[in-house]
Assembly symmetry: C2
Homo-oligomer: 298 residues x 2
């Protein structure tokens, strides 16, 4: 069994959202709807500004009109840009280095302004670090269209034989093994972070608050690949390539604020992330698609 | 005779804009459509993000779809925030200190991304300083609804007897007479700057370029009031009040880049600005409205 979640509502379509809110009384909204590929955002910035920014402004307006003023928004560690210091705390300087990042930064600023104008609004901005893994059931996982932009979906496609080798962008960074370091977080931990955020919205008098969702640990590309090889028993051939423009060297979270205020912390490490990623991959080598379609879902 | 210009197109209404572009081949667009009251933007941020940001994204998308990729956009000196150094050059650090300012900053960044993604786009961002005055004919001038947010419309309403006194926000700034210093520019000079920008779009291979439109001269509130008193022969009673939150101390433009690259410079000084402001005011004491409506146009 594959579970498929496809919400076909266009956030930018005000009349549709208005109808949704007129029909149902919502206590809160978790707003995950955003395009998220950095490279695509550089090529098609208006697509990103339209989908992410117009979508969010429209949603906020309709929510306000219906008196629903509780929001959890999926922001991203991308708002730390190329951090000068790690770990990134919620007070670290913000910058955006591509249109995707700017959509997140703009939306964060819009949310702060909205709360400031009307303190009835309670907004939690969750800055995701690098979500990986899959549901432990093996039924729900990530299935990107086209060439994956992120490390683990690419590793997974190599492991199941859909791609010959993993390209590693840069092995001359000032990190333990020269490859980029990120803070990978298991998607189940990430999901739990949203529950904690929802609880926070209803429990206390917060305003517009930001929390990092990460593990607080930095893992290099080569460390992650090694962990996946252990979990899967598969060898991942590597091709070393130059640095990719725009990539930061080392990014990981300070998780203290989320631990303290959301009473949440990540429970899983990279072993579990790779175990569940492989469980999903081996059960669904072509994701939600088929071998004939090379993974493209009809 | 009063000339009235009211364009009733809602930029956010994609189908209307599409129809407009389908019916007419435009060589270039000058996009002036924006809400501009700082205080209102703090109270109603979504109104500003909706009107200014959604409007611009929608316009850019429709322009791209119709192959019209020449834009002159009305930005603002507000993107210099509270400048650490004056004059502000086009390379000065940018910041926004209220939602109105953020809409301008966001749109500038969106325009840069759009040009970067498709070099066919030629975009000129004009950073207006403080436009004042009126057309010398006395037929066209500013007629703000409600209490004017800006100095000169307020002065004008005092001069014609519609308000008892001018409130001066702050007379303890580190300026020549303690009042805030701004770079006032005659609206006719500003209009000429747009013609120069349009010419620049068609004449040379520019990309996304920014120009200050100001005179390069800083004038204090008291200096401006004195000039208006000379031009009008009216005494403007003053009420001194505390600083207004968010106001910068001293802001004026470097105009070198516009002089060099647009072959444009402001021709009028504060004497002409006040002369034409008074000419408009005395011919139209209630703007486009009537005494009965206290200036509200039906």
């Amino acid at each position: 069994m594959n579970l498929r979640f496809r919400l076909q509502v266009d956030l930018r379509d005000r009349s549709v959202i208005q109808k949704l809110f007129a029909e149902t009384k919502f206590d809160a909204v978790i707003h995950f709807a955003g395009l998220k590929a950095v490279g695509e955002s550089v090529e098609k910035p208006l697509l990103y500004y339209d989908n992410n920014v117009i979508g969010t402004i429209t949603l906020l307006e309709v929510m306000a009109a219906h008196g629903c003023k509780n929001l959890v928004f999926s922001s991203s560690a991308t708002v730390y840009g190329w951090p000068k210091e790690v770990p990134c705390t919620e007070e670290s300087p913000l910058s955006a280095v591509n249109p995707y990042g700017r959509t997140k930064l703009f939306i964060e600023e819009i949310c702060r302004d909205v709360h400031h104008s009307d303190p009835e609004w309670k907004i939690i901005l969750l800055r995701y670090f690098n979500p990986v893994g899959a549901h432990p059931s093996g039924h729900i996982g990530e299935d990107p269209r086209g060439i994956p932009n992120n490390l683990m979906p690419f590793v997974q496609q190599v492991a199941v034989g859909r791609r010959p080798a993993l390209t590693v962008f840069g092995n001359d960074y000032a990190t333990k093994d020269g490859t980029g370091v990120r803070d990978y977080i298991h998607v189940v931990d990430l999901a739990d972070g949203h529950i904690a955020a929802l609880r926070k919205l209803s429990d206390s008098k917060i305003g517009c608050e930001v929390y990092n969702l990460g593990t607080g640990k930095g893992t290099s590309v080569l460390e992650m690949v090694a962990a996946f090889e252990r979990a899967s028993g598969k060898k991942i051939p590597l091709v070393m390539a130059g640095r990719r423009a725009g990539d930061a060297e080392i990014v990981y979270a300070s998780t203290k604020k989320a631990e303290r205020e959301l009473n949440w912390r990540a429970r899983y490490g990279i072993e579990e992330m790779c175990r569940d990623q492989w469980n999903w991959a081996s059960k669904n080598p072509y994701g939600y698609g088929s071998p004939e379609s090379n993974g493209v879902m009809k």
